[in-house]
């Protein structure tokens, strides 16, 4: 009747995000994510709207309220004081990232326009493991990897393992490199 | 002539219609049901009768139910011809109802409620047809009658009646939809009216070929009249229980057919119009052929009711012939024959039914010597047969006399010959029955010499109708007057 299907299923949990916050803390802070979401939403509304008629402002407030009320747990499944720090550090990370991205793109342009492209490229799949834990950190690193030199994140595991497709050897060798340190630094996970 | 507006014609039509739900709801109490039938029939008859004096005074009763299109309303109009027909039909309905009680209960038939209900519907349609003021109304009731009689014809619900029912419908509906309807619409298209009028509705809008085609469409289209070659539904319909055959296939259905033809000839085309194109001869020719052929066929039929059926076909054509003679006397004769033949033929059918109820036999070859067993029935049979043949002292003689006069008046010796020949043939197929019923050797007789009549409810009606046939010879005045008035309306007026 009951057969255990131990097929190759990953042991991660899609429903529960892995906050380090316990249940009790969540209840205590449940108002803060809502407020922050609300403010963020309203700011977005103002940028989008560009119209400060009272009617539209009030509509904006209502809309922000609706979104924040129903979906604040999406934006901030768990909120800790660290978020502000993360935000600041992240802002500092972006310019570096952009420069990296531009570098990566010139590299790629060179490859693409090279007449003997197939001799230059040498696709690899490489695995490496990091000690990143939070989803945000994992995602940031993954997207950064995708955007920067010749590498695309294929999969990530929740334990911080990465599988990356690299277009050529130099790109592959550069991994995980400084980027990991920077990302870990942002999220305070560089143990 | 005055036109009197009165709701009576409508009531006369409706009374049996309205009683239908009552009949259905009292299906578990046969006596109550039959009682209602009689009540309705009587009321109907009285209503018709109450209009008689008005008509005899030379007036007509009109009533318009609804307006459909200009010149084609659903309207009633009681004139002498219609009156005559209605009188006959409503009177015979009472008699037949009585007869059917005897017959149906005697045979323990199933579905009696259905039977009486549709019977009532059929008689309503018949009266409606008789009182129609225009072709549209006539057609309406004609169709209702066709459909209402279908369950009666197929009453037995077996394979045989299924085949017959199919044939019945094919002929009746096929011709009415295929021929009468277009012909009617053609008329309306040309003239813009369908009202019956003595002078006809065409005033020179129709050329002779067109008129011929139209006339033939009508004559063949009213297939209930049994004009050959659209006659074969009638013998087939004899699978029905005898009361049905009696009332419907001797009186209501077939008479509606000929009545319609007479109406069309007199009311739509007009006698004068037809004479001017000499179209009477065409119809008369067809009718004569039917008369002769059907009489000849009747000679060879062994089944009682089938012989009567073929006889009916021939007799109906007399009426058509009478109308087609286009002479006053001929038309009078034709009209009278509607009544005379009705009383005569219904008697014959009653007799056939009574014999079936009493003995279960329906073939003539099985009826040798039956006169000893059922003397009353067979006496009535004799009177009916005489009436059909056209011998005094029966009503049939009067009508046939007028027909003969009509042929003389129109100087149509061929038709005279046809009439006489067919009378001989009539005699030839009726007289042997009577002869063998009474004058057979004891060895030949198939029955014991013991009087054992059918149930009383069967016998009384046939005695009544036989008597009426007899009486009509001496007192044909009511019908004669009506016919004469009608003719005056068609020709003189």
């Amino acid at each position: 009747m009951t057969d255990a299907n131990t097929g190759a299923r990953s042991p991660e949990n899609p429903l529960k995000t892995k906050g380090k916050v316990s249940l009790g803390q969540e209840e205590k802070q449940s108002f803060a994510p809502f407020m922050i979401t609300f403010v963020l939403m309203f700011a977005t509304w103002l940028i989008l709207s560009g119209n400060f008629a009272p009617l539209l402002i009030s509509l904006g407030l209502i809309s922000s309220l609706i979104v924040a009320w129903f979906f604040h747990d999406l934006l901030f499944p768990s909120l800790t004081g660290k978020h502000l720090g993360i935000f600041i550090k992240f802002s500092a990370y972006i310019p570096w990232l952009i420069i990296e991205i531009i570098k990566a793109n010139f590299h790629l342009l060179y490859l693409v326009f090279h007449p003997r492209m197939k001799e230059l490229i040498d696709p690899h799949i490489i695995d490496f493991k990091t000690n990143l834990e939070s989803d945000l950190a994992v995602t940031t690193l993954a997207n950064s990897i995708t955007l920067t030199p010749g590498t695309i994140t294929v999969t990530t595991g929740s334990d911080g393992s990465y599988r990356v497709h690299a277009i050529d050897k130099p790109s592959a060798e550069a991994l995980p490199g400084t980027m990991l340190d920077k990302v870990a630094d942002i999220y305070g996970e560089n143990k | 002539m005055e036109l009197i507006t009165s709701i009576k014609p409508l009531l006369a039509v409706l009374v049996t219609l309205l009683v239908m739900p009552v009949l259905v709801s009292s299906s578990n109490k046969p006596n109550v049901r039959e009682g209602w039938t009689f009540v309705a029939g009587t009321i109907k008859f009285l209503l018709v009768l109450s209009m008689l004096p008005v008509i005899l005074d030379g007036n007509q009763i009109v009533f318009t139910l609804v307006k459909i299109a200009p010149g084609a309303d659903i309207a009633f109009r009681v004139d002498p011809l219609g009156m005559m027909f209605a009188l006959v039909a409503s009177a015979l309905y009472i008699v037949t109802s009585m007869y059917s009680i005897g017959y149906m209960r005697g045979l323990n038939e199933h579905g009696q409620t259905r039977f009486v209900t549709f019977f009532a519907l059929a008689i309503s349609a018949t009266i409606g047809a008789a009182f129609s003021a225009n072709l549209l109304t006539l057609y309406l009731f004609y169709e209702i009658l066709s459909l209402a009689t279908y369950p009666l014809v197929t009453h037995h619900q077996d394979a045989n009646s299924r085949v017959s029912g199919r044939r019945y419908l094919t002929f009746i509906l096929g011709t009415s939809i295929g021929l009468v309807l277009p012909a009617m619409i053609w008329c309306y298209h040309i003239t813009g009216t369908l009202e019956f009028s003595g002078a006809g509705i065409f005033s020179g809008q129709l050329s002779k070929p067109h008129a011929t085609v139209l006339l033939l469409m009508f004559v063949f289209g009213f297939a209930k009249a049994g004009i050959m070659p659209f006659h074969s539904w009638l013998p087939a319909a004899m699978v029905a229980p005898t009361p049905v055959s009696a009332l419907l296939h001797a009186v209501a259905v077939v008479k509606v057919g000929v009545f319609s033809i007479v109406r069309v000839i007199t009311g739509i085309f007009g006698i004068e119009f037809l004479s001017s194109f000499e179209l009477g001869a065409v119809v008369a020719g067809i009718a004569s052929v039917t008369i002769l052929v059907s009489s000849a066929i009747a000679l060879s039929q062994d089944e009682f009711k089938r012989r009567l059926a073929y006889s009916t076909i021939g007799q109906l054509s007399y009426i058509v012939l009478g109308a087609a003679l286009l002479s006053p006397k001929g038309v009078t004769g034709g009209m009278l024959h509607i009544a005379m033949h009705a009383f005569g033929k219904i008697t014959l059918f009653f007799c056939a039914g009574a014999i079936f109820v009493a003995t279960g036999r329906k073939y003539l070859s099985q009826m040798v010597g039956i006169g000893y067993r059922m003397p009353v029935t067979m006496t009535a049979f004799l009177i009916g047969a005489l009436s059909i043949i056209g011998l005094p002292p029966t009503g049939g003689f009067i009508s046939k006399w007028y027909l003969v006069l009509g042929t003389l008046e129109g100087d149509q010796m061929v038709m005279l010959f046809v009439l006489l020949t067919s009378s001989l043939l009539n005699a030839a197929y009726f007289m042997p029955i009577f002869y063998r019923a009474f004058f057979c050797t004891p060895e030949e007789a198939m029955f014991e010499r013991k009087v054992d009549e059918a149930p009383l409810m069967c016998v009384i009606p046939l005695v009544i109708t036989a008597l009426i046939s007899f009486v009509l010879f001496f007192a044909p005045q009511p019908f004669l007057n009506l016919a004469a008035m009608a003719v005056k309306g068609f020709i003189g007026g």
Binding site: - | E143, D158, R166, G178
Partner: protein
């Protein structure tokens, strides 16, 4: 302010929405809501009809904008008549179908009623509107709801029939939309009256011709004129009973209405019959449709299928009549819209009642039905006679006008086809009646010979117990059957008071 023209449409729509909410909150409330909204709509429609008869066409501007800019509802005799018909039939059918719906879609009857109301909204809107594009939207709402309902029917084939219907229906609607586009590019307007005023000035235009052809072909596809009918039989035969009863009488008839509306109120007689002189060809198409529909119907073994082919046949009547090019033909066609809707409704009511008890309605399954369901069969018989064209049922009178029109136009082939189809229908129905009337006798009652010896003592057949459909259905059927006769008797009035004023 006379808001009735809007109420006719809005009441069912509001009903649908309230029922839509109720379906999730309290399922039992949907049926009364649906019933009430349709009742209101029917009352408003009757009110419209009376107003039109007394004081002429009503004009109603949606949102208060005057016609060429806003959308206009213009109710004249024709609209009002068809509106009464639609709302009345929808209401009656809802009354009749309660049990059927419970039987067929037990777990989602609430949504069924919502869809039903939306369908009615579409039909009513199509009929009321005076705007060409609005018409398209409403046709689509009607179509969409009927696609769904049809797919809900037969478990095996409903979905396939519905998908086929979608393909063909979309082609039809799109052709219509394209035609409207061509009209728009030529006139710059979408209002029917506005367009009609501009058309006489551009009769030579090839664009207008194409617009006309596209519109008419689109409508023909939607109404299933003979060669374009392929979607109809399956779709209607496999629909659930509660819905088949309304879609079969109304959908095609409303499309005929659209055709008449386009012919009379948009393009105009002059353009169609004088400039283009298309009459002959189309009347021939009608003739072929009549004959083909009848003949295919004859070959069907399933009662529902047979009915659907009869619809195809009747469409031929109306198309042919409308295109005869004379007043009589048009009168006949319009009258037949009304009559045919009633007739088909009665037929499908009866068939629905049979389905309720029998499940399968192949003709051979119907044995002994007269004894089993006398009332249903009574209604069925009257409806059948009406289709055959037996007076005084209404079918006769529209046929009367159609044949008169055919005579006037000299289209004798069309008249002949009408008569032949009457005969075919007669054969068809008597085939059914025979089965219903005769068959039980073959089993066990031993009535093969004429004389009735050995019968039960009371002389009646007691063996077959009466098993009627739900009372509501039967009563509705009775009402509709009687109305067939009443409408027939009053067809003169309808023609004089409503149709002729509209045509002139």
């Amino acid at each position: 302010m006379n808001n009735y023209p809007a109420i006719v449409v809005i009441a069912p729509l509001l009903g649908a929405l309230f029922a839509g909410v109720a379906a999730w909150v309290e399922d039992r409330a949907t049926y009364p809501i649906a019933l009430a909204s349709l009742g209101i709509a029917a009352a408003a429609a009757v009110n419209d009809l009376i107003t039109v008869m007394i004081s002429g066409p009503i004009q109603y501007n949606m949102a208060g904008w005057a016609p060429p800019m806003g959308i206009e509802y213009r109710i004249d005799g024709l609209n009002a008549l068809v509106l009464v018909l639609i709302t009345g039939i929808a209401f009656l059918n809802l009354v009749a179908s309660y049990k059927n719906v419970q039987q067929e879609t037990p777990d989602r009857s609430g949504s069924f009623y919502v869809m039903y109301l939306l369908f009615v909204v579409g039909l009513v809107g199509v009929v009321s509107t005076g705007d060409l594009f609005n018409l398209y939207v409403l046709i689509e709402i009607t179509s969409l709801s009927s696609y769904t309902m049809i797919a809900l029917g037969d478990k095996d084939r409903g979905a396939i029939a519905s998908l086929n219907y979608i393909f063909i229906g979309v082609i039809g609607a799109s052709f219509y939309l394209l035609g409207v586009g061509y009209i728009y590019i030529k006139t710059g307007s979408l209002n029917m009256a506005d367009v009609a005023a501009m058309i006489p000035a551009m009769t030579e235009s090839s664009t207008l011709l194409v617009a006309f052809i596209l519109c008419i072909i689109g409508v023909w596809i939607k109404m299933a004129l003979f060669p374009l009918h392929v979607w109809l039989p399956n779709a209607y035969a496999f629909a659930p009973v509660g819905f088949a009863r309304i879609v079969a009488p109304l959908m095609t008839k409303v499309m005929v209405y659209v055709m008449v509306r386009l012919m009379v109120s948009v393009f105009g007689y002059d353009y169609i019959f004088t400039t283009l002189s298309l009459s002959d060809g189309v009347v021939w198409m009608g003739t072929i449709a009549i004959l083909a529909g009848g003949i295919i119907a004859l070959s069907q073994k399933n009662l529902k299928k047979m009915m659907t082919y009869i619809i195809v046949c009747e469409i031929g009547y109306m198309v042919g009549g409308a295109w005869l090019g004379n007043e009589l033909g048009m009168t006949g066609a319009i009258l037949h819209i009304v009559n045919d809707a009633l007739m088909t409704f009665a037929l499908f009511l009866a068939v629905g009642n049979m389905v309720y008890k029998l499940d399968r309605v192949d003709i051979t399954d119907l044995q002994g039905l007269f004894a089993k369901m006398p009332w249903t069969m009574g209604g069925f018989v009257i409806a059948a006679f009406s289709i055959v064209g037996v007076p005084p049922t209404c079918g006769f009178f529209s046929k009367w006008y159609l044949i008169l029109g055919a005579f006037e136009a000299g289209a004798y082939h069309f008249a002949a086809a009408l008569l032949v189809s009457s005969l075919i229908c007669a054969v068809l129905f008597f085939k059914v009646f025979e089965v219903c009337f005769f068959e039980p006798m073959s089993e066990g009652h031993g009535h093969g010979d004429d004389h009735g010896h050995g019968h039960d003592s009371h002389g009646e057949h007691a063996a077959v117990a009466i098993e009627e459909a739900p009372v509501a259905s039967v009563i509705t059927l009775a009402v509709v059957s009687v109305s067939l006769i009443v409408v027939g008797l009053y067809s003169g009035t309808i023609v004089d008071r409503i149709i002729l004023p509209f045509l002139n």
